[in-house]
Protein backbone atom coordinates (compact mmCIF):
# COMPACT_ATOMS: atom_id res chain seq x y z
CA UNK A 1 0.00 0.00 0.00
CA UNK A 2 1.68 3.17 -1.19
CA UNK A 3 -0.89 5.92 -1.12
CA UNK A 4 -0.22 9.30 0.33
CA UNK A 5 -0.83 9.27 4.08
CA UNK A 6 2.06 11.71 4.27
CA UNK A 7 0.17 14.17 2.10
CA UNK A 8 -3.16 13.87 3.88
CA UNK A 9 -4.23 16.40 6.39
CA UNK A 10 -5.74 15.51 9.75
CA UNK A 11 -9.45 16.15 9.31
CA UNK A 12 -10.01 15.52 13.02
CA UNK A 13 -7.84 18.34 14.30
CA UNK A 14 -9.98 21.30 15.41
CA UNK A 15 -8.95 24.89 14.86
CA UNK A 16 -8.80 26.88 18.08
CA UNK A 17 -11.39 29.65 18.33
CA UNK A 18 -12.40 32.30 20.81
CA UNK A 19 -15.87 33.11 22.11
CA UNK A 20 -16.54 36.84 21.61
CA UNK A 21 -20.19 36.93 22.69
CA UNK A 22 -22.36 34.51 24.61
CA UNK A 23 -25.87 35.45 25.60
CA UNK A 24 -29.18 33.72 26.21
CA UNK A 25 -31.79 33.99 23.47
CA UNK A 26 -34.58 31.89 24.98
CA UNK A 27 -34.70 29.69 28.04
CA UNK A 28 -32.99 26.89 26.16
CA UNK A 29 -31.20 28.63 23.29
CA UNK A 30 -28.03 30.63 23.41
CA UNK A 31 -26.34 32.93 20.93
CA UNK A 32 -22.59 32.82 20.33
CA UNK A 33 -20.23 34.93 18.31
CA UNK A 34 -16.92 33.19 17.68
CA UNK A 35 -13.64 34.11 16.01
CA UNK A 36 -11.02 31.67 14.80
CA UNK A 37 -7.73 32.25 16.61
CA UNK A 38 -5.96 32.53 13.25
CA UNK A 39 -8.38 35.44 12.62
CA UNK A 40 -9.29 34.07 9.21
CA UNK A 41 -12.91 33.93 8.13
CA UNK A 42 -14.55 30.54 8.61
CA UNK A 43 -15.08 30.33 4.85
CA UNK A 44 -18.55 28.83 5.02
CA UNK A 45 -21.69 29.19 2.93
CA UNK A 46 -25.30 29.39 4.20
CA UNK A 47 -26.55 26.00 5.36
CA UNK A 48 -23.15 24.52 6.22
CA UNK A 49 -22.24 23.30 9.68
CA UNK A 50 -19.17 23.04 11.90
CA UNK A 51 -18.12 20.51 14.52
CA UNK A 52 -17.67 22.37 17.80
CA UNK A 53 -15.25 20.93 20.36
CA UNK A 54 -15.45 21.46 24.08
CA UNK A 55 -12.29 19.94 25.60
CA UNK A 56 -13.07 17.03 27.89
CA UNK A 57 -16.71 16.91 26.85
CA UNK A 58 -16.76 16.19 23.15
CA UNK A 59 -17.85 17.45 19.79
CA UNK A 60 -21.23 18.26 18.27
CA UNK A 61 -22.43 19.36 14.83
CA UNK A 62 -23.70 22.95 14.93
CA UNK A 63 -25.19 25.03 12.12
CA UNK A 64 -23.49 28.28 11.30
CA UNK A 65 -26.13 30.96 11.68
CA UNK A 66 -24.38 34.05 10.41
CA UNK A 67 -23.97 34.92 6.76
CA UNK A 68 -20.52 34.66 5.16
CA UNK A 69 -21.01 38.31 4.27
CA UNK A 70 -20.30 39.02 7.93
CA UNK A 71 -16.52 39.09 8.17
CA UNK A 72 -14.10 38.44 11.01
CA UNK A 73 -16.31 36.20 13.11
CA UNK A 74 -19.26 33.83 12.83
CA UNK A 75 -22.37 33.10 14.87
CA UNK A 76 -24.18 30.07 16.20
CA UNK A 77 -27.48 29.68 18.02
CA UNK A 78 -27.45 26.55 20.12
CA UNK A 79 -30.19 24.71 21.95
CA UNK A 80 -29.26 22.87 25.13
CA UNK A 81 -29.79 19.23 24.15
CA UNK A 82 -26.85 16.98 25.01
CA UNK A 83 -23.50 17.04 26.82
CA UNK A 84 -21.70 19.29 24.38
CA UNK A 85 -24.46 21.85 23.96
CA UNK A 86 -24.93 21.97 27.73
CA UNK A 87 -21.25 22.74 28.10
CA UNK A 88 -21.54 25.35 25.37
CA UNK A 89 -24.23 27.09 27.38
CA UNK A 90 -21.64 27.69 30.12
CA UNK A 91 -19.22 29.40 27.71
CA UNK A 92 -18.36 33.02 28.41
CA UNK A 93 -16.62 35.65 26.26
CA UNK A 94 -12.90 34.88 26.23
CA UNK A 95 -13.36 31.10 26.51
CA UNK A 96 -11.73 28.86 23.94
CA UNK A 97 -13.41 26.21 21.83
CA UNK A 98 -12.36 24.08 18.86
CA UNK A 99 -13.90 24.20 15.42
CA UNK A 100 -13.74 21.77 12.51
CA UNK A 101 -15.24 22.52 9.16
CA UNK A 102 -17.26 24.06 7.60
CA UNK A 103 -18.78 20.87 6.18
CA UNK A 104 -21.44 19.92 3.71
CA UNK A 105 -23.55 21.38 0.94
CA UNK A 106 -25.22 24.78 1.06
CA UNK A 107 -28.28 26.63 -0.15
CA UNK A 108 -27.24 27.77 -3.65
CA UNK A 109 -27.51 31.50 -2.89
CA UNK A 110 -24.38 31.99 -4.99
CA UNK A 111 -25.86 30.19 -8.00
CA UNK A 112 -29.28 28.92 -8.89
CA UNK A 113 -31.15 31.10 -6.41
CA UNK A 114 -30.00 34.32 -8.05
CA UNK A 115 -32.84 36.13 -9.75
CA UNK A 116 -35.46 34.02 -8.00
CA UNK A 117 -38.30 34.89 -5.65
CA UNK A 118 -37.41 33.01 -2.50
CA UNK A 119 -39.69 31.51 0.13
CA UNK A 120 -38.01 30.71 3.44
CA UNK A 121 -39.98 28.32 5.64
CA UNK A 122 -38.66 27.31 9.02
CA UNK A 123 -39.95 25.68 12.15
CA UNK A 124 -38.36 26.11 15.57
CA UNK A 125 -34.58 25.83 15.39
CA UNK A 126 -34.87 25.71 11.61
CA UNK A 127 -34.49 29.48 11.60
CA UNK A 128 -30.86 29.07 12.71
CA UNK A 129 -29.34 27.82 9.43
CA UNK A 130 -31.86 29.74 7.32
CA UNK A 131 -30.86 32.97 9.04
CA UNK A 132 -27.48 32.63 7.31
CA UNK A 133 -29.19 32.43 3.91
CA UNK A 134 -31.62 35.27 4.70
CA UNK A 135 -28.82 37.63 5.69
CA UNK A 136 -26.71 36.61 2.70
CA UNK A 137 -29.61 37.36 0.39
CA UNK A 138 -30.40 40.66 2.14
CA UNK A 139 -26.75 41.71 1.88
CA UNK A 140 -26.93 41.05 -1.85
CA UNK A 141 -30.53 42.18 -2.16
CA UNK A 142 -30.35 43.23 -5.80
CA UNK A 143 -29.52 39.69 -6.92
CA UNK A 144 -32.89 38.23 -5.94
CA UNK A 145 -36.61 38.72 -6.52
CA UNK A 146 -39.34 38.92 -3.88
CA UNK A 147 -38.55 37.45 -0.46
CA UNK A 148 -41.01 35.79 1.89
CA UNK A 149 -40.20 34.26 5.27
CA UNK A 150 -42.52 31.96 7.24
CA UNK A 151 -41.51 31.11 10.77
CA UNK A 152 -43.37 28.85 13.14
CA UNK A 153 -42.61 27.98 16.76
CA UNK A 154 -44.39 26.03 19.46
CA UNK A 155 -45.01 29.08 21.63
CA UNK A 156 -44.03 32.76 21.71
CA UNK A 157 -41.24 32.19 24.24
CA UNK A 158 -39.52 29.82 21.76
CA UNK A 159 -39.13 32.54 19.14
CA UNK A 160 -35.51 33.12 18.14
CA UNK A 161 -33.91 36.29 16.80
CA UNK A 162 -36.93 38.41 17.73
CA UNK A 163 -35.20 41.76 17.24
CA UNK A 164 -33.62 40.71 14.00
CA UNK A 165 -37.02 39.61 12.68
CA UNK A 166 -38.26 43.13 13.43
CA UNK A 167 -35.27 44.64 11.64
CA UNK A 168 -35.98 42.48 8.60
CA UNK A 169 -39.62 43.62 8.65
CA UNK A 170 -38.56 47.23 8.95
CA UNK A 171 -36.54 47.00 5.74
CA UNK A 172 -39.73 46.62 3.74
CA UNK A 173 -38.10 44.41 1.11
CA UNK A 174 -38.72 41.09 2.80
CA UNK A 175 -42.00 39.86 4.17
CA UNK A 176 -41.81 37.98 7.47
CA UNK A 177 -44.81 36.11 8.81
CA UNK A 178 -44.89 34.22 12.06
CA UNK A 179 -47.12 31.74 13.77
CA UNK A 180 -47.15 29.80 17.03
CA UNK A 181 -48.78 26.49 17.84
CA UNK A 182 -49.98 27.79 21.17
CA UNK A 183 -50.34 31.47 22.10
CA UNK A 184 -49.86 33.13 25.47
CA UNK A 185 -51.54 36.26 26.83
CA UNK A 186 -49.04 38.59 25.10
CA UNK A 187 -49.29 37.05 21.66
CA UNK A 188 -51.49 38.85 19.15
CA UNK A 189 -50.14 37.16 16.05
CA UNK A 190 -51.22 34.10 14.10
CA UNK A 191 -51.92 30.83 15.87
CA UNK A 192 -51.66 27.55 13.97
CA UNK A 193 -49.23 25.40 12.05
CA UNK A 194 -46.85 27.02 9.60
CA UNK A 195 -48.96 26.13 6.57
CA UNK A 196 -51.76 28.30 7.99
CA UNK A 197 -49.55 31.24 6.91
CA UNK A 198 -49.28 29.90 3.40
CA UNK A 199 -52.90 29.93 2.24
CA UNK A 200 -52.57 32.80 -0.22
CA UNK A 201 -49.27 31.55 -1.60
CA UNK A 202 -48.42 32.94 -5.03
CA UNK A 203 -45.70 31.03 -6.82
CA UNK A 204 -44.34 31.76 -10.26
CA UNK A 205 -43.05 28.28 -11.11
CA UNK A 206 -40.11 29.30 -13.27
CA UNK A 207 -38.74 32.00 -11.04
CA UNK A 208 -39.57 30.85 -7.53
CA UNK A 209 -37.59 28.78 -5.06
CA UNK A 210 -38.08 27.65 -1.48
CA UNK A 211 -35.64 26.95 1.34
CA UNK A 212 -36.89 24.80 4.21
CA UNK A 213 -35.58 23.85 7.60
CA UNK A 214 -37.49 22.37 10.49
CA UNK A 215 -38.65 19.16 12.09
CA UNK A 216 -39.36 16.22 9.73
CA UNK A 217 -43.13 16.53 10.13
CA UNK A 218 -43.03 20.11 8.84
CA UNK A 219 -41.50 19.16 5.48
CA UNK A 220 -44.44 17.09 4.34
CA UNK A 221 -46.97 19.83 4.91
CA UNK A 222 -44.87 22.75 3.68
CA UNK A 223 -43.79 20.91 0.54
CA UNK A 224 -47.44 20.00 -0.03
CA UNK A 225 -48.51 23.64 0.24
CA UNK A 226 -45.70 24.79 -2.04
CA UNK A 227 -46.49 22.13 -4.65
CA UNK A 228 -50.16 23.01 -4.68
CA UNK A 229 -49.18 26.60 -5.40
CA UNK A 230 -47.07 25.44 -8.34
CA UNK A 231 -43.58 25.22 -6.88
CA UNK A 232 -41.35 22.79 -8.79
CA UNK A 233 -39.75 19.93 -6.84
CA UNK A 234 -36.29 20.86 -8.06
CA UNK A 235 -36.76 24.44 -6.86
CA UNK A 236 -37.09 23.34 -3.23
CA UNK A 237 -34.09 22.91 -0.94
CA UNK A 238 -34.23 21.51 2.54
CA UNK A 239 -31.80 20.98 5.36
CA UNK A 240 -32.05 17.56 7.03
CA UNK A 241 -30.99 16.66 10.53
CA UNK A 242 -28.85 13.62 11.36
CA UNK A 243 -26.15 13.07 13.95
CA UNK A 244 -22.87 13.86 12.24
CA UNK A 245 -19.88 12.59 14.17
CA UNK A 246 -16.88 12.58 11.84
CA UNK A 247 -18.06 15.17 9.32
CA UNK A 248 -16.00 13.55 6.57
CA UNK A 249 -18.29 10.81 5.28
CA UNK A 250 -16.80 7.85 7.11
CA UNK A 251 -18.30 7.11 10.54
CA UNK A 252 -21.72 6.17 9.16
CA UNK A 253 -23.88 7.86 11.80
CA UNK A 254 -25.48 10.40 9.47
CA UNK A 255 -26.01 7.94 6.63
CA UNK A 256 -29.43 8.15 5.04
CA UNK A 257 -29.81 5.28 2.57
CA UNK A 258 -26.82 5.76 0.27
CA UNK A 259 -26.17 9.38 1.22
CA UNK A 260 -23.91 10.80 3.89
CA UNK A 261 -25.69 13.85 5.22
CA UNK A 262 -22.40 15.43 6.38
CA UNK A 263 -21.00 15.41 2.85
CA UNK A 264 -23.95 15.17 0.47
CA UNK A 265 -26.15 17.47 2.63
CA UNK A 266 -27.25 18.58 5.09
CA UNK A 267 -28.82 20.82 2.41
CA UNK A 268 -30.48 18.75 -0.30
CA UNK A 269 -32.55 19.58 -3.32
CA UNK A 270 -35.98 18.09 -2.60
CA UNK A 271 -36.21 16.32 -5.95
CA UNK A 272 -32.90 14.57 -5.19
CA UNK A 273 -34.16 13.06 -1.93
CA UNK A 274 -37.92 12.65 -2.30
CA UNK A 275 -37.42 9.06 -3.48
CA UNK A 276 -34.60 8.24 -1.05
CA UNK A 277 -36.40 5.91 1.36
CA UNK A 278 -34.69 7.00 4.55
CA UNK A 279 -34.62 10.71 3.80
CA UNK A 280 -38.10 11.98 4.56
CA UNK A 281 -39.93 8.85 5.76
Amino acid sequence: MESGARHSRDHYLPRPALVLQSRPMTESDRFFEVRLECKEDLGHMPGQFVMVSIPGVGEAPISVSSSPTKKGSFEMIVRRMGNVTQAMHRLQPGDGIGVRGPFGAWFPVDGELKGRDIFFACGGLGLVPLRSAVNYVLDNRGDYGALQLYYGTKCPSDRLCVEELDRWRDRGDVSCEETVDKADENWSGNVGVITSLMTGLRVEPDRSAALLCGPPVMFKFVVGALRRAGMKDDHIWLSLERHMKCGVGKCGHCQMSNLYVCQDGAVFRFSDVEDIPEALQ
Binding site: A5, D10, P16, E278
Partner: protein, 342 residues
Amino acid sequence: MILKKVTRGELHEWVDEVIAARRTYGVQSKSDQFAFAPLKRASDLRLDYDVTILPPKTFFQPQWEDLITYRGDEGYQSVIEAEPFVLLGVHPYDLVAVSQMDEIFSQSKPDIRYLSRRESATLVAVDVQSPSRHTFAGYMGTSSVDRGYDILLTRMGDEYLVDIATERGREIMGRLERLRDAAESWLDQRMMVWEHNQGALRAHQLRADPSTWPDLLEKSYDHPVWEEKARLCFSCGSCTLVCPTCYCFDIREDVGWDLETRRRYRVWDGCMLQDFARVAGGLNFRKDAAARYRHRYYRKGKYVPEKLDGQIACVGCGRCIQACVANIADPVEVFNRLAEGA
Protein backbone atom coordinates in the same frame (compact mmCIF):
# COMPACT_ATOMS: atom_id res chain seq x y z
CA MET B 1 7.84 -11.27 -8.88
CA ILE B 2 10.28 -13.58 -7.07
CA LEU B 3 9.22 -17.21 -6.64
CA LYS B 4 10.81 -19.46 -4.05
CA LYS B 5 10.12 -23.02 -3.04
CA VAL B 6 10.67 -23.80 0.62
CA THR B 7 10.18 -26.66 3.00
CA ARG B 8 8.16 -26.23 6.15
CA GLY B 9 11.40 -26.13 8.15
CA GLU B 10 12.87 -23.42 5.93
CA LEU B 11 9.66 -21.44 6.20
CA HIS B 12 9.84 -21.60 10.00
CA GLU B 13 13.46 -20.47 10.00
CA TRP B 14 12.49 -17.49 7.88
CA VAL B 15 9.50 -16.63 10.10
CA ASP B 16 11.75 -16.71 13.18
CA GLU B 17 14.12 -14.38 11.36
CA VAL B 18 11.26 -11.97 10.62
CA ILE B 19 10.11 -12.12 14.25
CA ALA B 20 13.62 -11.28 15.48
CA ALA B 21 13.86 -8.23 13.23
CA ARG B 22 10.35 -6.77 13.27
CA ARG B 23 7.13 -6.40 15.16
CA THR B 24 5.26 -9.42 13.90
CA TYR B 25 1.69 -10.64 14.24
CA GLY B 26 0.46 -13.99 13.03
CA VAL B 27 -2.50 -16.33 13.18
CA GLN B 28 -2.49 -18.53 16.27
CA SER B 29 -4.93 -20.84 17.95
CA LYS B 30 -7.14 -19.37 20.66
CA SER B 31 -8.98 -22.15 22.51
CA ASP B 32 -10.82 -23.86 19.63
CA GLN B 33 -10.67 -20.85 17.29
CA PHE B 34 -7.98 -18.71 15.67
CA ALA B 35 -6.86 -15.12 16.07
CA PHE B 36 -4.19 -12.70 14.92
CA ALA B 37 -1.83 -12.06 17.86
CA PRO B 38 1.78 -11.01 18.50
CA LEU B 39 3.94 -13.86 17.27
CA LYS B 40 6.81 -15.05 19.47
CA ARG B 41 7.99 -18.10 17.56
CA ALA B 42 7.31 -19.60 14.17
CA SER B 43 6.01 -22.81 15.65
CA ASP B 44 3.01 -20.88 17.04
CA LEU B 45 1.98 -19.78 13.56
CA ARG B 46 -1.05 -21.69 12.24
CA LEU B 47 -1.13 -21.38 8.47
CA ASP B 48 -3.72 -24.18 8.38
CA TYR B 49 -6.40 -22.14 10.19
CA ASP B 50 -9.94 -21.86 8.85
CA VAL B 51 -10.93 -18.30 9.78
CA THR B 52 -9.86 -15.82 12.48
CA ILE B 53 -12.35 -14.52 15.06
CA LEU B 54 -11.68 -10.92 14.04
CA PRO B 55 -10.54 -9.81 10.60
CA PRO B 56 -7.24 -7.96 10.02
CA LYS B 57 -9.07 -4.61 10.08
CA THR B 58 -8.08 -4.43 13.77
CA PHE B 59 -4.56 -3.54 12.63
CA PHE B 60 -5.61 -0.64 10.44
CA GLN B 61 -8.66 0.61 12.30
CA PRO B 62 -8.18 -0.54 15.90
CA GLN B 63 -11.17 -0.97 18.19
CA TRP B 64 -9.96 2.03 20.17
CA GLU B 65 -7.83 4.67 18.52
CA ASP B 66 -6.82 8.08 19.82
CA LEU B 67 -7.56 10.96 17.47
CA ILE B 68 -6.43 14.05 19.33
CA THR B 69 -5.36 15.19 22.75
CA TYR B 70 -5.99 18.54 24.37
CA ARG B 71 -4.03 20.24 27.11
CA GLY B 72 -4.58 23.82 28.17
CA ASP B 73 -0.95 24.76 27.50
CA GLU B 74 -0.52 23.12 24.13
CA GLY B 75 -4.05 23.06 22.70
CA TYR B 76 -5.19 20.35 20.30
CA GLN B 77 -2.62 17.84 19.07
CA SER B 78 -3.06 15.10 16.48
CA VAL B 79 -2.26 11.58 17.61
CA ILE B 80 -1.09 9.42 14.74
CA GLU B 81 0.41 6.10 15.76
CA ALA B 82 1.91 3.87 13.15
CA GLU B 83 4.89 1.57 13.55
CA PRO B 84 6.09 -0.83 10.89
CA PHE B 85 4.84 -4.37 11.37
CA VAL B 86 4.46 -7.65 9.56
CA LEU B 87 1.13 -9.46 9.47
CA LEU B 88 1.47 -13.16 8.77
CA GLY B 89 -1.24 -15.45 7.48
CA VAL B 90 -3.89 -13.20 5.92
CA HIS B 91 -6.42 -15.13 3.83
CA PRO B 92 -7.36 -13.95 0.31
CA TYR B 93 -10.95 -12.95 1.19
CA ASP B 94 -9.59 -10.73 3.96
CA LEU B 95 -7.14 -9.16 1.51
CA VAL B 96 -10.09 -8.25 -0.71
CA ALA B 97 -11.74 -6.59 2.29
CA VAL B 98 -8.53 -4.70 3.12
CA SER B 99 -8.28 -3.40 -0.42
CA GLN B 100 -11.89 -2.17 -0.22
CA MET B 101 -11.15 -0.40 3.06
CA ASP B 102 -8.07 1.14 1.42
CA GLU B 103 -10.35 2.69 -1.16
CA ILE B 104 -12.95 3.82 1.37
CA PHE B 105 -10.38 5.50 3.59
CA SER B 106 -8.59 7.10 0.62
CA GLN B 107 -11.75 8.55 -0.93
CA SER B 108 -12.67 12.24 -0.75
CA LYS B 109 -11.34 13.17 2.70
CA PRO B 110 -8.48 10.64 3.15
CA ASP B 111 -8.08 9.23 6.64
CA ILE B 112 -4.52 9.90 7.72
CA ARG B 113 -4.61 7.43 10.61
CA TYR B 114 -5.86 4.48 8.60
CA LEU B 115 -3.50 5.21 5.75
CA SER B 116 -0.48 5.60 8.06
CA ARG B 117 -1.14 2.26 9.72
CA ARG B 118 -1.80 0.65 6.38
CA GLU B 119 1.43 1.93 4.89
CA SER B 120 3.31 0.56 7.90
CA ALA B 121 2.12 -2.95 7.21
CA THR B 122 3.79 -5.76 5.31
CA LEU B 123 1.14 -8.32 4.44
CA VAL B 124 2.11 -11.96 4.16
CA ALA B 125 -0.89 -13.83 2.84
CA VAL B 126 -1.56 -17.54 2.72
CA ASP B 127 -3.92 -19.49 0.51
CA VAL B 128 -6.64 -21.25 2.46
CA GLN B 129 -5.84 -24.80 3.55
CA SER B 130 -8.89 -25.54 5.71
CA PRO B 131 -12.18 -23.98 4.59
CA SER B 132 -14.30 -22.71 7.48
CA ARG B 133 -17.73 -24.22 8.01
CA HIS B 134 -19.54 -21.01 7.10
CA THR B 135 -17.47 -19.73 4.20
CA PHE B 136 -18.98 -18.83 0.85
CA ALA B 137 -15.91 -17.02 -0.50
CA GLY B 138 -15.90 -19.40 -3.47
CA TYR B 139 -19.11 -17.74 -4.69
CA MET B 140 -17.91 -14.23 -3.96
CA GLY B 141 -14.81 -14.39 -6.14
CA THR B 142 -12.60 -13.94 -3.08
CA SER B 143 -11.24 -17.45 -2.52
CA SER B 144 -7.96 -16.45 -4.15
CA VAL B 145 -6.30 -13.19 -5.15
CA ASP B 146 -3.44 -12.23 -7.43
CA ARG B 147 -2.76 -8.89 -5.75
CA GLY B 148 -3.08 -7.04 -2.47
CA TYR B 149 -0.30 -8.97 -0.71
CA ASP B 150 3.41 -8.32 -0.34
CA ILE B 151 4.15 -12.03 -0.07
CA LEU B 152 1.80 -14.94 -0.76
CA LEU B 153 2.39 -18.42 0.60
CA THR B 154 0.72 -21.39 -1.05
CA ARG B 155 1.05 -24.85 0.39
CA MET B 156 1.77 -27.59 -2.10
CA GLY B 157 2.17 -30.95 -0.45
CA ASP B 158 5.00 -30.67 2.05
CA GLU B 159 6.38 -27.49 0.55
CA TYR B 160 5.33 -23.87 0.15
CA LEU B 161 5.47 -21.68 -2.91
CA VAL B 162 6.54 -18.21 -1.79
CA ASP B 163 5.52 -15.39 -4.13
CA ILE B 164 7.34 -12.19 -3.23
CA ALA B 165 5.31 -9.63 -5.10
CA THR B 166 6.38 -6.19 -3.92
CA GLU B 167 9.39 -4.14 -2.88
CA ARG B 168 8.03 -4.27 0.67
CA GLY B 169 7.97 -8.05 0.45
CA ARG B 170 11.58 -8.09 -0.75
CA GLU B 171 12.60 -6.06 2.28
CA ILE B 172 11.72 -8.92 4.59
CA MET B 173 12.78 -11.83 2.40
CA GLY B 174 16.11 -12.25 4.26
CA ARG B 175 17.30 -15.83 4.07
CA LEU B 176 14.65 -16.72 1.49
CA GLU B 177 16.80 -14.97 -1.08
CA ARG B 178 19.43 -17.70 -0.83
CA LEU B 179 16.94 -20.53 -1.25
CA ARG B 180 16.10 -22.16 -4.57
CA ASP B 181 13.85 -20.44 -7.05
CA ALA B 182 10.58 -22.13 -7.87
CA ALA B 183 10.03 -23.15 -11.46
CA GLU B 184 7.40 -21.24 -13.43
CA SER B 185 5.40 -24.45 -13.59
CA TRP B 186 4.66 -23.97 -9.92
CA LEU B 187 2.42 -21.10 -10.92
CA ASP B 188 0.30 -23.60 -12.84
CA GLN B 189 0.14 -25.73 -9.73
CA ARG B 190 -0.88 -22.71 -7.70
CA MET B 191 -3.62 -22.08 -10.23
CA MET B 192 -4.87 -25.57 -9.47
CA VAL B 193 -4.90 -24.75 -5.76
CA TRP B 194 -6.91 -21.63 -6.52
CA GLU B 195 -9.36 -23.56 -8.65
CA HIS B 196 -9.69 -26.17 -5.95
CA ASN B 197 -10.31 -23.51 -3.31
CA GLN B 198 -12.96 -21.83 -5.40
CA GLY B 199 -14.95 -25.05 -5.11
CA ALA B 200 -13.93 -25.83 -1.55
CA LEU B 201 -14.86 -22.46 -0.04
CA ARG B 202 -18.55 -23.04 -0.61
CA ALA B 203 -19.81 -24.31 2.74
CA HIS B 204 -23.01 -22.30 2.30
CA GLN B 205 -24.62 -22.55 -1.10
CA LEU B 206 -25.26 -19.14 -2.62
CA ARG B 207 -27.75 -19.14 -5.48
CA ALA B 208 -27.81 -15.38 -6.07
CA ASP B 209 -24.66 -14.38 -7.93
CA PRO B 210 -23.12 -11.36 -6.14
CA SER B 211 -23.30 -9.33 -9.34
CA THR B 212 -27.11 -9.49 -9.01
CA TRP B 213 -27.19 -8.20 -5.43
CA PRO B 214 -27.55 -4.48 -6.22
CA ASP B 215 -30.50 -5.15 -8.55
CA LEU B 216 -32.11 -7.58 -6.13
CA LEU B 217 -31.92 -4.98 -3.39
CA GLU B 218 -33.18 -2.27 -5.69
CA LYS B 219 -36.53 -4.04 -5.81
CA SER B 220 -36.61 -5.58 -2.32
CA TYR B 221 -36.93 -2.59 -0.04
CA ASP B 222 -40.29 -3.76 1.27
CA HIS B 223 -39.51 -7.48 1.17
CA PRO B 224 -40.89 -9.39 4.18
CA VAL B 225 -37.48 -10.96 4.90
CA TRP B 226 -36.22 -7.84 6.73
CA GLU B 227 -39.04 -7.94 9.24
CA GLU B 228 -38.94 -11.74 9.61
CA LYS B 229 -35.23 -11.86 10.38
CA ALA B 230 -35.14 -8.70 12.47
CA ARG B 231 -37.90 -9.97 14.72
CA LEU B 232 -35.26 -12.28 16.21
CA CYS B 233 -32.46 -9.71 16.24
CA PHE B 234 -30.98 -8.76 19.64
CA SER B 235 -29.39 -5.65 18.10
CA CYS B 236 -26.12 -6.77 19.66
CA GLY B 237 -23.96 -5.66 16.76
CA SER B 238 -21.85 -8.84 16.69
CA CYS B 239 -22.26 -9.17 12.93
CA THR B 240 -20.80 -5.73 12.35
CA LEU B 241 -17.94 -6.17 14.82
CA VAL B 242 -16.58 -9.29 13.10
CA CYS B 243 -17.21 -8.05 9.56
CA PRO B 244 -14.04 -7.26 7.58
CA THR B 245 -15.85 -4.57 5.56
CA CYS B 246 -17.68 -2.82 8.41
CA TYR B 247 -15.87 0.34 9.42
CA CYS B 248 -18.43 2.62 11.12
CA PHE B 249 -17.22 4.24 14.30
CA ASP B 250 -18.18 6.48 17.17
CA ILE B 251 -16.11 9.39 18.48
CA ARG B 252 -15.80 9.80 22.24
CA GLU B 253 -13.99 11.91 24.77
CA ASP B 254 -12.18 11.21 28.01
CA VAL B 255 -10.22 13.02 30.68
CA GLY B 256 -6.83 11.53 31.58
CA TRP B 257 -5.75 10.53 35.09
CA ASP B 258 -3.84 13.81 35.40
CA LEU B 259 -7.29 15.45 35.04
CA GLU B 260 -5.72 17.83 32.54
CA THR B 261 -5.14 15.89 29.38
CA ARG B 262 -8.31 15.32 27.41
CA ARG B 263 -8.29 12.70 24.71
CA ARG B 264 -10.69 12.19 21.86
CA TYR B 265 -10.77 8.71 20.43
CA ARG B 266 -12.80 6.62 18.06
CA VAL B 267 -14.25 3.20 18.74
CA TRP B 268 -15.93 0.68 16.50
CA ASP B 269 -19.65 1.24 16.22
CA GLY B 270 -22.31 -0.54 14.24
CA CYS B 271 -25.49 0.36 12.39
CA MET B 272 -27.23 -2.65 14.00
CA LEU B 273 -27.02 -1.03 17.42
CA GLN B 274 -30.16 0.64 18.64
CA ASP B 275 -28.93 4.22 19.08
CA PHE B 276 -26.73 4.42 16.03
CA ALA B 277 -28.94 6.86 14.11
CA ARG B 278 -30.28 8.73 17.13
CA VAL B 279 -29.93 12.52 17.18
CA ALA B 280 -29.83 14.96 20.08
CA GLY B 281 -33.29 15.30 21.54
CA GLY B 282 -34.03 11.60 21.12
CA LEU B 283 -35.35 11.23 17.59
CA ASN B 284 -34.05 7.94 16.16
CA PHE B 285 -33.97 7.75 12.38
CA ARG B 286 -33.60 3.97 12.39
CA LYS B 287 -35.47 2.95 15.51
CA ASP B 288 -36.86 -0.37 14.23
CA ALA B 289 -34.62 -3.43 14.19
CA ALA B 290 -35.91 -4.23 10.70
CA ALA B 291 -34.77 -0.86 9.38
CA ARG B 292 -31.31 -1.42 10.87
CA TYR B 293 -31.12 -4.99 9.58
CA ARG B 294 -32.11 -3.87 6.10
CA HIS B 295 -29.68 -0.97 6.17
CA ARG B 296 -26.78 -3.34 6.85
CA TYR B 297 -27.64 -5.46 3.81
CA TYR B 298 -28.10 -2.42 1.63
CA ARG B 299 -24.67 -1.19 2.64
CA LYS B 300 -23.11 -4.52 1.75
CA GLY B 301 -24.95 -5.09 -1.50
CA LYS B 302 -25.79 -1.66 -2.84
CA TYR B 303 -24.53 1.50 -1.15
CA VAL B 304 -20.86 0.56 -0.86
CA PRO B 305 -20.78 -1.06 -4.32
CA GLU B 306 -22.11 2.24 -5.71
CA LYS B 307 -19.05 3.95 -4.22
CA LEU B 308 -16.56 1.23 -5.21
CA ASP B 309 -17.23 0.49 -8.88
CA GLY B 310 -19.57 -2.37 -8.13
CA GLN B 311 -17.44 -4.21 -5.57
CA ILE B 312 -19.74 -6.02 -3.15
CA ALA B 313 -18.91 -5.21 0.47
CA CYS B 314 -19.13 -8.86 1.51
CA VAL B 315 -16.23 -11.22 0.97
CA GLY B 316 -17.92 -14.43 2.06
CA CYS B 317 -15.82 -15.03 5.17
CA GLY B 318 -18.88 -16.25 7.10
CA ARG B 319 -17.84 -14.57 10.35
CA CYS B 320 -21.24 -12.90 10.78
CA ILE B 321 -22.95 -16.27 10.46
CA GLN B 322 -20.76 -17.68 13.21
CA ALA B 323 -21.05 -14.63 15.46
CA CYS B 324 -24.82 -14.17 15.32
CA VAL B 325 -26.46 -15.54 18.46
CA ALA B 326 -29.93 -15.37 16.91
CA ASN B 327 -28.78 -17.21 13.79
CA ILE B 328 -30.21 -14.60 11.42
CA ALA B 329 -27.08 -13.04 9.94
CA ASP B 330 -26.40 -15.39 7.04
CA PRO B 331 -26.10 -13.27 3.87
CA VAL B 332 -26.45 -16.45 1.80
CA GLU B 333 -29.90 -17.13 3.22
CA VAL B 334 -31.00 -13.54 2.74
CA PHE B 335 -29.86 -13.19 -0.85
CA ASN B 336 -31.11 -16.66 -1.83
CA ARG B 337 -34.45 -15.60 -0.44
CA LEU B 338 -34.47 -12.32 -2.37
CA ALA B 339 -33.53 -14.22 -5.52
CA GLU B 340 -36.40 -16.69 -5.08
CA GLY B 341 -38.97 -13.97 -5.53
CA ALA B 342 -37.11 -12.38 -8.43
